[in-house]
């Protein structure tokens, strides 16, 4: 999807892929194959690039630091990105800058968890400090015994208090090296089994002051952490206010609606910010946008299901990533735009369910 934005701006992309079958490698001419965990591979790849950026957070922090020391423009930089790589570092920093977080601590032993549970109650949420994604690396433990099992795996962990949230919100902001910041409207994200299934833009019923407050928190984090590029801040909306859940520093699933629903897509915004160009307008191109993820179903032939979806709803926007279809995997998304939330949401759900499984909802 970044390639779509790059084409518009006349920016030539080069991609480092593990295999030629990866989504990005299928739509870009200049593909280099290699392992992003290998510094010399990264150095060879970077030669000749004006700027380097990421579509995931797994490039080792020390390699990013080395590339910057070599003189490459890397956005986001290692000092910012580490907050999206290491949840404990993120929590420490957010706590220090006064961003609202659930109670948390690093835990290494059952005693640590017991102490934390004694203070904040059960369940306790254990999170892998590094490497989690889409609900993986997160364990909601209803007892200390459950926590003990997770600890026994040896994964470096932290504990967070279980937050009885009303709903989940996300704020996507961009920040450029020269310091300009832009925030998209606050959205509501709907998760199922730890995976985002739907994004409602703007977040329904959020009053202006709450929305502005969420945007202020996200922009402050971007500024304090020195983020360059995109920052998605996932938040819990609770009875007592907002709490930051997770950070991502890249185009994010909660911002896919912007391709069709905002004047500047998150992908163009990311390119603008990593190239230190003035940021684009985040205004919506319709009153309501709903994005629904298309998850892989049993029948991999998604293309054969286009016909019904397109005929049923000529305004639905389909995005299919060219990934191999596996059950439950995010293989695409759809976006519906309009004036009425219920109607727009029903359209998005219908299209996503049909593309996934060939079922009518």
């Amino acid at each position: 999807m970044t390639q779509q934005a790059a084409i518009a701006l006349g920016v030539e992309l080069r991609v480092l892929a593990n295999t030629p079958d990866e989504s990005a490698a299928r739509v870009i001419g200049d593909v280099r194959l290699g392992d992003y965990r290998d510094l010399e591979t990264l150095r060879g790849f970077a030669k000749g690039c004006d700027a380097l950026t990421f579509d995931h957070e797994h490039v080792p922090t020390e390699h990013i630091r080395a590339l910057a020391a070599d003189g490459f423009a890397v956005h986001p930089g290692a000092d910012a990105l580490v907050h999206a790589q290491d949840k404990a570092v993120m929590r420490e920093r957010l706590t220090a800058i006064g961003a609202p977080c659930p109670p948390w601590r690093r835990v290494a032993t059952v005693a640590d968890v017991e102490e934390f549970a004694g203070e904040h109650g059960l369940p306790v949420v254990l999170k892998a400090v590094r490497g989690g994604y889409d609900g993986r690396g997160v364990w909601v433990c209803r007892s200390v015994e459950e926590a003990a099992e997770v600890l026994a795996t040896g994964t470096p962990l932290m504990a967070e208090a279980f937050v009885p949230f009303e709903r989940e919100l996300a704020v996507l902001v961009a920040r450029s090296p020269h310091g300009q910041g832009v925030s998209y409207p606050v959205v509501e994200t709907v998760q199922r089994d730890g995976i985002c299934v739907e994004v409602l833009a703007p977040a329904p019923g959020l009053d202006t002051e709450q929305a502005a407050s969420a945007q202020r928190i996200a922009l402050k984090i971007a500024h304090e952490l020195g983020v360059t590029g995109l920052l998605a801040v996932e938040m819990f909306a609770t009875a007592s206010g907002l709490m930051v859940n997770e950070l991502a520093m890249r185009p994010h699933n909660s911002g896919h609606w912007t391709i069709d629903g905002a004047r500047t897509s998150q992908f163009e915004q990311h390119l603008r910010s990593v190239l230190d160009l003035p940021l684009g307008s985040p205004v919506m191109s319709a009153p309501v946008a709903v994005m629904a993820n298309v998850l892989g179903g049993d029948d991999p032939d998604v293309f054969s299901r286009y016909e019904h979806v397109m005929a049923h709803d000529p305004g639905i926007k389909i995005h299919f990533y060219g990934k191999e279809v596996r059950p439950g995997r995010k293989i695409g998304h759809v976006t519906a735009l309009g004036d009425n939330l219920d109607e727009v949401r029903a359209r998005a759900r219908h299209a996503a369910a049909y593309l996934s499984e060939g079922v009518y909802v």
Copy 2:
């Protein structure tokens, strides 16, 4: 720009290019180099493609016919495309189906022109029957002597009466092999020196009945000619009604505004129609869209001029084709969206002029 649409739909493109520097070749992974005038090259290229289409009209009609005979799905087909390749064939057919045309005839001699001028007056517009583009291949002759000079070049020609038009309109329609048709809103196109410089969508001040009439003409032409894919119908608006000027059967400059200004871009619409998928909604995503072409200026470093344009107008959409910059060449376009035509038009003009030449207008 077709690649942007292809990425969304998960459609893999292969492109036949003359050189690796062509715009399409720079943004597509599967590039084959070769001459589109050579049938064996076309056959080798086509092998493995589900559908074949064009971004210009210069592939020889007989080669398209041969590819179809080989069993390839070619859209538009030779019998339709010939009307966009050969202006005399187009005029014959449009006359036969009752589409409004200026008086015209094939001319081979000065006597032919003299006779035509005697009937329809001067100036006489001579057009090369094949190969014209952006004002090339069109001569407005104010005297028979001027016409004689053009005739002397030996180019196969036709004559048309000079139409004292009020303005130029264009209607972009799509038609799929299964016969579905869709029309975008009628636009006004503004030409300078035979080159389209601006497109206003929708055409300002066009009443509903006139607009519907223009769309009916375009859809009828698409149907009668058996067009599959896009058809752009350029028209003159005259005191006595509409007249068809030119046809193009491909994504067209008069439809570039749809990328940002319509729910379905013309490029996605073209892919849908050549793949025989249901067509997408042509509704506008804002009340007014103005597209302005960016023509090459003296300084080829367009990228250095992004900063001003983006900072000045965060809502302007820039499209840069990655072509080598030559004075007067179409190297990109900008689109502005909004509610007020004068304001939107001023924004588009400002951005296009600055990107072209670094001048403020």
